[in-house]
């Protein structure tokens, strides 16, 4: 569990929560387990986020995978900033946080957010009161703004570049209880 960086008490706490979610009692969570969380039902991006917990092609996630995903949202701590870079990038690094968000858009996993993919996410987030043309123009604008190589889609590097001024470390972090 070293890779997640969680403290022992945090792991214990999360493990008990993991068990309470695990209605099948089989040590792994299914999509249904996640969908049972009431708040997720009203989260516009809920399904996408649930998907993010599952490795490609699988429909079960064990505790290790669960923790690995959650570790993306661990805040960056001071002692981690000046850690020696040889140990590999921690899961809660800026790049990994961004990658997590990027994957939410990138449905077909081709490392590009196409206009359609962006439109889908936008549609989820804006509700029905906005017309397709409006949404389309937003998407066009978004892609134009981010797209530097002219392929009319947003690659991960472009995604990172667009958000380089954003305090991702803060805005993609959750304070886990100690």
């Amino acid at each position: 569990m070293k890779e997640t960086g969680f403290s022992h008490s945090q792991i214990t706490r999360l493990y008990s929560h993991f068990h309470s979610l695990d209605k099948g009692e089989n040590g792994a969570l299914s999509r249904e387990d996640f969908q049972r969380i009431p708040e997720l039902a009203i989260n516009p991006l809920g399904d996408r986020i649930i998907n993010a917990f599952f490795p490609e092609g699988e429909d079960q996630v064990n505790f290790r995978g669960f923790m690995r995903t959650l570790a993306h949202f661990r805040p960056v701590e001071d002692n981690e900033k000046n850690k020696d870079p040889t140990s590999g990038e921690p899961l809660n690094s800026r790049a990994n946080k961004l990658l997590f968000a990027f994957r939410l858009y990138d449905l077909d996993r081709d490392d590009k957010i196409s206009r359609d993919e962006l439109l889908q996410v936008l549609r989820m987030m804006v509700g029905v009161n906005i017309s397709d043309e409006q949404l389309g123009s937003i998407a066009d604008r978004t892609i134009q703004e981010a797209d530097t190589n002219g392929d009319m889609s947003i690659s991960f590097s472009e995604f990172t570049k667009v958000l380089e001024k954003v305090d991702v470390e803060q805005k993609m972090s959750i304070r886990f209880l100690h």
């Binding site: 997720l40 991006l45 509700g127 703004e145 001024k165 972090s173 959750i174 304070r175």
Partner: protein, 968 residues
Amino acid sequence: MRGLSLLLFITVAGEATTDLFVTVASLPPELEVSAAPAGTSPVTARHIPGPGEYGHPGIALARSEEEPAVPSTEDGESSHPHGGGGGGYEIVQWEWSYVKTPYIIASWLLVASVAKILFHCSQRFTTAVPESCMLILLGLVLGAVVLIASKKQTYQLDPGLFFLFLLPTIVGDAGYFMPARLFFDNLGAILMYAVVGTLWNAFCTGFCLYGVKMAGGIDEKVNAGLMDFLLFGALISAVDPVAVIAVFEEVHVNETLFIIVFGESLLNDAVTVVLYKVYISFVEAGPGNVYTADYFKGIASFLIVSIGGTLVGLIFAVILAFVTRFTKTVRIIEPLFIFLLVYLAYLTAELFSLSAILSMTFCGIGCNKYVEANISQKSRTTVKYTMKTLASIAETIIFIFLGISAVDKSKWAWDTGLVVSTLIFILVFRAVGVAGQTWFLNWFRLVPLEKIDQVVMSYGGLRGAVAFALVVLLDKEHVKAKDYFVATTIVVVFFTVMFQGLTIKPLVKWLKVPRSTNRKPTINEEIHERAFDHILTAVEDIAGLNGYHHWRDKWEQFDKNYLSKLLLRKSVYHKSELWEAYQKINIRDAISVIDQGGNVLTSARLSLPSMASRTSFPEFTNVTNYLRENGSGVCLDLQVIDTVPGAKIEEELETHHVLAENLYKPRRQYQSHYSRHFMTVGEKERQDREVFQRNMHNRLESFKSTRYKRHKKDRSQKKHKGSDAKEQDTSDKPRRNVSWQDRDPVVVPMAPEEDIHDPSEPDKDEDVGITFVARKAPETPKERPKSVPAALDACQSPVAAPPSPTCGEKNLPWKYGMGSLPPCVSVEANKIIPIDLQQAWNQSISSLESLASPPEPQHPRVSALSRLGGPVRTSANGKSGGGVGAGSGSNIGSPSSGQFKFPTAKEEEEEGALSQQQQELQALMSSLTPPPATQSAGKRRNPCVYLRSLVTVPPSGGEPQSRRPTQL
């Protein structure tokens, strides 16, 4: 300076605004209405033990002494009418007592505003010295002047005025434009510092001062016990919102740091109010009569004051939001609702002696989202500007009055021990308190506050006018050491505002505190950050944590389902925030592109061949300015509404199509608007337009003729002798036009028509223009002496006619102003013809007159054209310009006669003929008036068609009569 001192004297003579009730009483009943708003200040007596106690005991006496003196100072103005009037009915009466109060208030506002202008004259100076420092210094100087002039200090920061009028404007602005998300993200830290920090400071300072007093560090004369020192500690320990805003807005630290210090300064009001009141009651009751129950009452009172204040604010926020839902038909008073209800929130809280600052702050924060969505764009701008203006002026007045109040020696007594130990204690305890609380907070904070943040927070704990007003309110009967406390407070305020305010900027630079980036989010950031929020909420839910995001999401759901439904208009409610953000960003980009390339824009604008586009330019500039304010709702800056955000160049390119959409629409709208005006406009405007049309047409014609300019010129001169005079003068005129235009570096790209038609032509013209300029320069000295007398009688006297063109020309802005063509033409926004057009027009005039395109004296049109130049001259000469172009001529602003460099725009080969022609022109000008009318009547017949022809049809050649609509 004399004017200033005179003003001061007048205001001194009128005494302070606090004795308004005297005025009200002495006013006739019908005047009471006008005096009533200002007259409410005596009502402020909630704070005030009694008007005489701190105020102006000898008011009536002072009035009777000083009033007779006033007319004598004004003798220069008032003696005339008095002499003329004789006895009985006086033509002009001295009505000082009638206008006194508003007059004094207006004078003070004026002094404060002018002071601001002066401070901002030097950019380098203002970046080093905070404005608040300068204002206090100015206050000190003014106070000294007043003191010397009247031997007694009539002005000081009146607590009633401060708490009821000055403070609300600042707090209202701060609350309404508070970045809500940022505020609530850091609410925990803010509350911690505001409550715990202030309590800590208050108690520690109070107890330690008492300890110093016991140890003999403070003079025996300072007659104060433990309660007095605790009271003093309470009022001196609160960080002051006014000072914090004034200083921090110039420092630009990062937003988190700013919001924590700023939020603390607002929210600690409840603590201060309660502590202050509790101690006052304790002091008044005497130390022996305080029971344990009273301490618990104090705690209960704190809860009631703070929570009650917040609730009052929120209730008013809901009312306000609800009211603005229905103001669609009365857009014009929308802003008024906002001001009134926010202010009422403040007053209501005061009414129940709750925390008024809390109330107003939360009212502002709470209503902002709904109100901004409900009201119209114009109202938003109005609210924004009015609030900023009021807050800015209130801040200015507060600091000036702080300075003035300090001069009054009678109000305070000095004790070095007290002053020094207070200064040390507040600095030390602030630092210790911040360090301790931050250590505690960092256990819980996602982003811990760094060491340098803590240093800035400690150092930014500025004291200000609130402390001063509170200490002035003390009752000397009970607080024996009031004078000492006043002196100490003044020193503390001055030290924190001036010394710390002065040094905090270098400190921030030295510590490399992350600065705020004045940058607006891009659409990507808007979208992705929204997505981040959703992700975090979901992850918190999955991880089973009821954390901050969980609750925020809950609140947002509630807001969406109930509050917004209740408080937002239906049309607004169904709009998506994302779409709004998108539109905002679009507009902002368009504006930033425009703003960045002022000159580029001008040229680009001129390159648009549509005349309507040009005429709409001033209007459009206004629109852009107006829209620019749109996106900066989060900006807490009091004065500067953001400077242009530096958008990336690539972004500019990418948004080009967006720009196109945004730019074209208003133009089209304006065109219709414009043409609607077209039929009904007044004489001046119509003439301006005609001139402009003619000028445009000339330009177009010139493109055809430029290539054969020389030939034409020769030909024209022949023709001048021959029959076809019309053609010759048209062909001459445009040619000059072009060369003048091209002479100017800025304007060169502005002549796109040339580029379109024949790229080689402009070069040629430019050469001509340049050589022409070079040649003219040496002639200048010769011409100058002549031109001065000529300016006087040029119009009438044919003898002086030759230099007369110079008189006309020297008024032309392109002479000196064109090289620095203002990127923004809005100076002339009230005119129909924007500056560039006017210049073009002037060019045509100049070419007419100076080149003396040999005119046919008999031809009415020539005289009409020359008349166009006439008014320019006449306006400069101080004669009534009844000519055609009078409006624009005066609009140019007549410069002095010595400034022109090109006395006559004569061409060397024409010089011989010129003087005679000028004489003819002059003669015509003085005699002929009707021709222009006939001509203009012909011209204005079909402007739209004319416009279109200008736009689309390539110049149809030097057809002389083509200026007439029939030929178009």
